[in-house]
Amino acid sequence: MKKILLTSWRPAIAIALFICIWEFSTRIFQIETWILPAPTVIVMEMQEVLPAFFPHMVSTIRLVLIGFSIGTTIGIGVATLLHHYDKLRETIYPFLVLSQNIPIIVLAPLLLIWFGLGDTPKIIIIAMTSFFPITVATLSGFQQTDRELIHYMKMMGASKRQLFMKLELPHALPAVFSGIKIAATYSILTGVVAEWLGAQKGIGVFMTLASSSYRTPRVFVAIIITMLLSLSFFALILLLERMFIKWNREEIK
């Protein structure tokens, strides 16, 4: 804790300075609120709009959690499958890497045509963005298992199942979590952007409504809350990681 305070005072001052400059320049140069609202204006707007904003936020969080859980489960499952079947891996893996380069969001209009305006296309998009980083990270975690430990297990006559459950899976956990962390930061963002394309509720809907009526302070409120959500999701995953991987943390200490 002390360490965090000692190292974080510099960036804290930088952020404070940045906000001050922002505040004063909007006043000095008399910038219109609909172009760039001052931080104080945003804060006041936030207080006012928060009750109305809350249901939108809940809706987005719900979508993201569903999509993210589906993506994570399928990701780890597919990685496990590909790890055990070499031929399947050789066939599918290049395709996986290739498909990671498609910005999922360009598929959104297509998914809207197929699945309509409900939650389904958005959940699919979020699940897909979570799926790829988790699959790739988990698979490389499996593949990088310590050769010496594998040799020991084989010499001791471990079955394939024991080798996986007792060695490869726990060994891959840190890699799985690094994939999950990447997926977590993407998934909130993807959720918001997916909502731009059409939804009844959600942060994305709130944003498009606010921007089309030039209520710029509200757009900023949405941006800030999206950021905070991403950060808290990331922190939550970090917490889970520390609970699951005790040995690694102590190694760092």
Binding site: E148, K154, M155, G157, K166
Partner: protein, 245 residues
Amino acid sequence: MDLTLENISKSFGEKEILRNISLSINSGEFVSLLGPSGSGKSTLFSLIGGLLKPDVGDIFLNGKKITNKTGYISYMPQQPSLFPWRTVLENAILGQELSRKRDEEKAKMLLEKAGLREFIHAYPHQLSGGMKQRVAFIRALLSPQSMMCLDEPFSALDAFTRLDMQKWLLETWEAYEQSIFFITHDIEEALFLSDKIVVLSSRPAQIKEIIQVPFERPRNESLLLTYPFLEAKKQLAKILDHTNL
């Protein structure tokens, strides 16, 4: 438990590694395999462990053929190979877990005897090199298989720790009825520890000679400086010298 190797030969492609190896280890016996580095000692272990199939020959345990079958021996590798996410105790019972016979009490007792009482719930990275090897040996000892194969377990330790470990190994082993097959390239280590030493030539490895070690047990480090011990060391060095060490 006695282990018998009959006319084992193994090549990898054009490379002949082992030629016509025959030897036996009797129940409760400590046998060392002494040979130059790269002479195929570890390959021989992989054959006994059942990971590899010999081109010629068979391996028997108590008269039962175990050629190319895994799970019949207990193993301690050169590196401690402890699992970093398991505590010392969980590591020690891993071998038992693999054959579904957990006995935590026995593990605790052995760990305490090895001076690891305070480390039972610690993680491997908190241990010194010698402590890690103790845990690895206890893990092998606790495994239900009574034929233990130790692959140069002390070669990565410093000289002081190594002597400590050798003495500790002898004490611990003498209390149990296990057979040990021990790979080493250290003449003194082989003489100090074993009942029988199998000397291998360089590649392709053949058995150069099998020597019975005459020293009484229990042994301690004062043996290392006695005249008969030094004499035996000299003889063994001579045999190894002829194999172009």
